[in-house]
């Protein structure tokens, strides 16, 4: 019996472990992270606004454990759980005037691309014999951009399907905004691949090991592309804000003018799917930035920049990756309260007239330097 199972696993090694990775990454890592990202957002927002944020939900047995129980309650640790329950229990209201098929389709189309992107991101080196990436594609970054560009359909569709003015305006805004910034984003990473010479994301990480050398001198900085290509990093970062519709670029939603933007007519779980999509996008954007510019799962000391040889080290790599990602998440959340929303023409101006010329110049300069160094 056991033997037959082992045989089966051995025969279909790739399928079994890919499936396992998908399940673990999506359902045990990404979804809880989305849920707790929402909690983090609520807590950090509250603290910045001199409030306390969620601190009420208590589980019967756990909350009676001394110190830990009350601490978790005060932290709002169980809040995501009841939020989820609430989303399911709320009345799922479909207004009479909507285009039903698209109305139902839109939340799913928003969420799925966000999850698909995770496939090519190496979230660790190795664990045993397994590479910690779901699909180690040679065209990883192309795949990512292909999938990310699908995300706009969900929002545009939501705006269109709702058949009312505010969602419609939100949908139109998001289509223009996301397409514009996708160009800047795409162009900004070209120098990275000029340097790496490969589109595989694992290669990108491999390139970023060791310490930074500038003009032959060793700097006390890791050899991350963020330091080699600061302009590309900055533009990619800003574009990531625009792509995820986060402040200061949340014009598709912009409550002050558009009620709720593209999700005005949504309620209950369908609204929650949009909400989850937004946070999933934030997480994948953070993961992309970590991989492309901050050396992925590596750290330039204690040999942490070499693929793991033992299980604890593999786990440490995963931890490093997640830690770096969380830093970006906090920045995502924090920036929301730092900057006011852009005016739409300023947004377009920044994208088309500043970033695109800058990225093009960056490509030329990088190419020129590489040509000279050759």
């Amino acid at each position: 019996m056991m033997a037959s199972i082992q045989n089966l696993i051995a025969d279909n090694h790739f399928v079994v472990f890919s499936a396992l990775k998908v399940v673990v990454v999506i359902f045990l890592a990404l979804l809880p992270m989305v849920a707790y990202a929402v909690l983090a957002e609520r807590k950090i927002s509250a603290y910045i606004q001199d409030r306390l944020g969620p601190n009420r939900v208590a589980l019967p047995l756990i909350s009676s454990i001394p110190i830990i129980g009350p601490f978790l309650t005060k932290l709002g640790f169980w809040q995501p759980m009841v939020d989820g329950v609430k989303s399911f229990l709320k009345e799922d209201f479909t207004p009479a005037h909507v285009r039903k098929v698209y109305f139902w389709l839109a939340p799913a189309i928003t969420l799925i691309p966000a999850f698909l992107t995770v496939a090519v991101i190496p979230f660790g080196s190795t664990l045993g014999n397994e590479k910690m990436v779901i699909a180690d594609l040679d065209v990883g970054i192309l795949y990512t951009f292909g999938i990310v560009s699908l995300g706009v359909y969900g929002i545009v569709l939501a705006g269109y399907a709702a058949n009312s003015k505010y969602p419609f305006l939100g949908g139109i805004r998001s289509s223009a905004q996301m397409i514009s910034y996708e160009i800047a984003m795409g162009l900004s990473v070209i120098p990275v691949f000029l340097l790496v010479g490969n589109l595989n994301l694992s290669s990108v990480i491999g390139y970023q090991t060791g310490l930074l050398h500038i003009l032959g001198a060793t700097m006390p900085l890791p050899n991350w592309l963020a330091f080699k290509q600061p302009l590309a990093f900055l533009i990619f970062w800003v574009a990531a804000f625009a792509e995820t519709n986060r402040l200061p670029f949340d014009l598709p939603e912009s409550e002050t003018e558009l009620v709720g933007g593209y999700n005005t007519e949504y309620s209950s779980m369908k609204f929650a799917l949009f909400f989850m999509g937004e946070y999933a996008n934030m997480i994948t954007s953070s993961a992309m930035m970590v991989t492309l510019f901050l050396g992925g799962w590596t750290l330039p000391f204690w040999g942490l920049d070499q693929p793991a040889t033992s299980i604890p080290m593999g786990l440490a790599h995963i931890g490093i990756f997640i830690g770096k990602m969380l830093c970006f998440m906090v920045v995502f959340i924090w920036v929301r309260w730092m900057l006011p929303r852009f005016r739409y023409d300023h947004l377009m101006d920044l994208g088309w007239r500043r970033f695109i010329p800058l990225t093009l110049a960056n490509i030329l300069v990088t190419a020129f330097i590489l040509w000279v160094k050759r």
Partner: protein
């Protein structure tokens, strides 16, 4: 009037001062003392003169001060008050006051806590007290009757006690009050 906007200089156009400024403000607030009040456990200290729920009061001699003159019913903007006067029999228990409400109902769902009833009351019999959180599980429960209003209102320490004064004066003059 046209407000001329200054042109931003290069430094400002980098957005960096704005970002740093925003970061400073948010960081300062992040570590500030929080002002949230944990409501059901902690309660707000109601300032004097606060207009909470209107209740009826009794005087020191345990007499319902209301004489059912119905001025509050008349003045009440949302028509939340409904008084049933005693009718021809009067109210023998009220003594020389002759009149007391047979029933006095305030629909707390309708009440807007404007305080007109307190202002108009010639007998100082109704006061807007400090209760601000009234709850009930049915509409009927939110219509407070005389007993409930009196129980919630308590005793008013009336300094003048005009009816007692009148009765005493009449007694002194040998007239049945």
């Amino acid at each position: 009037m046209i407000v001329k906007r200054d042109k931003l200089n290069f430094w400002e156009r980098l957005y960096l001062p704005a970002i740093i400024g925003g970061f400073k403000v948010t960081l300062r607030h992040f570590f500030k003392k929080k002002i949230t009040m944990q409501y059901p456990e902690e309660k707000w200290v109601v300032p004097p003169g606060y207009r909470g729920a209107p209740y009826l009061v009794k005087d020191q001699e345990d007499r319902t001060k209301c004489v059912s003159c119905q001025l509050c019913e008349f003045v009440c903007p949302p028509k939340a008050i409904r008084i049933t006067p005693p009718g021809p029999a009067g109210s023998p228990e009220a003594g020389n006051v002759e009149k007391a409400p047979k029933e006095f109902e305030i629909n707390m769902l309708r009440c807007i806590f404007c305080g007109f009833c307190q202002e108009v009351c010639p007998e100082e019999a109704i006061f807007l007290m400090q209760d601000y959180s009234l709850t009930g599980t049915s509409r009927k429960e939110m219509i407070y009757n005389k007993e409930k209003l009196l129980a919630l209102g308590g005793v008013h320490q009336d300094k003048i006690q005009k009816w007692k004064q009148k009765a005493d004066e009449a007694k002194e003059q040998g007239v049945k009050p």
